[in-house]
């Protein structure tokens, strides 16, 4: 597990990127997808994920659709038009950030 400090700043970018790559996703699916992509190294908790989703929705970057599944309702999230336009910016910014940081840390990335 990584410290929440490290993780926090990248949450929005991570969610936007996943939605851009996969289209429509619901909360549990996102946590499972992150687990699979990182071979279980990254555990996205509900307490971190849902507030991020709700913030992004409020900001208009993502929108939601509801669908009935058995006896319950599932909430799917997808990028809005603004979200689609800015997802790439977020990822680019993150990339620049990592590269800049690496000028200091000089990590061997392979």
């Amino acid at each position: 597990m990584y410290s929440t400090e490290l993780f926090k700043g990248t949450l929005k970018t991570l969610v936007l990127h996943l939605l851009q790559a996969e289209g429509r996703m619901y909360g549990y699916q996102i946590t499972q997808r992150v687990r699979a992509l990182t071979d279980g190294e990254l555990e996205l908790t509900e307490g971190a994920l849902y507030p991020t989703l709700h913030k992004l929705e409020k900001a208009g970057l993502i929108i939601s659709e509801k669908e009935k599944v058995g006896g319950r309702v599932r909430k799917y999230y997808l990028l809005s038009d603004i979200g689609t336009a800015s997802a790439t910016d977020y990822v680019d910014e993150f990339r620049d950030f990592v590269l800049t940081m690496n000028r200091i840390f000089k990590l061997k990335l392979d």
Partner: protein, 251 residues
């Protein structure tokens, strides 16, 4: 594999004990927990096992984090409102009374907050039996009538005839209803995130898990099921997971 209506209702009942969760958030979390349970069932666990595991994993702080993201703003608005009322009281009093008046608004600020907190967790306060029946065993340490060992009696016992109606002591939702080891036929009602009440040794159970219950509503009848030596009602008030003296919550 998708949980059936009854199983979904049990998960929903579990989430309902966190009263601060608003309906849309609760519905979203309901789907999340159901998915988690279905995932575990896909690995070969039974629903009961998967549900227990899910409840253990699901600690309260997680829920608080989710709820605080949308609730903080609301609380802030309320606080500002209270402060404004307090400040208007200052301007009202200060010209005539001067320095002592500044202590007054402090109280006007504190009181609404306290009143609000008290409102948020109204403890169950009805008597679960209509008539005055003989109280045969009080809450506290006692020699157990069957095991003869001194143990804490977690509730109170009333001797009452078979079939006497048992009433819910407050509004809530049924968390458990069914046979429960020594308790026999037993109902547990969730009132809020603090209080639960338990009714044991029942003859009949009239409610189902997940059902909404109003205080005073009949939920079952007095019996002699489980580890019991005569028809009686065993009643517990559970505060934050710990049984407390029900006498403090009876009219």
């Amino acid at each position: 594999m998708i949980l059936d209506t009854d199983q979904t209702r049990q998960v929903d009942a579990f989430l309902r004990q966190y009263r601060k969760l608003k309906t849309p958030q609760r519905n979203e979390l309901l789907d999340h927990l159901c998915c988690d349970i279905e995932h575990a069932m896909g690995e070969g666990r039974s629903f009961e096992e998967a549900f227990i595991r899910c409840r253990e994993r699901w600690n309260e702080s997680e829920v608080k984090k989710i709820h605080s993201s949308t609730q903080k703003r609301f609380t802030m608005v309320k606080l500002i409102g209270i402060l404004l009322i307090g400040m208007s009281t200052i301007t009202f009093f200060s010209p005539s009374i001067g320095t002592t008046a500044e202590e007054l608004p402090d109280k006007t600020i504190a009181n609404p907050v306290i009143a609000e907190l008290a409102d948020a967790s109204e403890p169950p306060s009805f008597c679960p039996l209509t008539a005055n029946f003989e109280l045969t065993s009080e809450y506290g340490n006692r020699i157990h009538p069957i095991s003869k060992k001194e143990v804490l009696h977690r509730g109170v016992d009333w001797k009452a005839p078979l079939g006497t109606p048992v009433l819910a002591s407050g509004n809530g939702i049924v968390l458990e209803a069914g046979a429960k080891d020594k308790y026999g036929n037993c109902i547990i009602i969730l009132h809020d995130e603090i209080y639960q009440t338990l009714y044991a040794h029942l003859e009949s159970i009239d409610v189902a898990v997940g059902e909404q219950i109003a205080g005073g509503q009949q939920i079952g009848s007095v019996g002699n099921s489980g580890l019991s030596l005569g028809t009686h009602l065993h009643y517990e008030v559970i505060k934050n997971g710990v049984p407390v003296n029900p006498a403090d919550y009876l009219p």
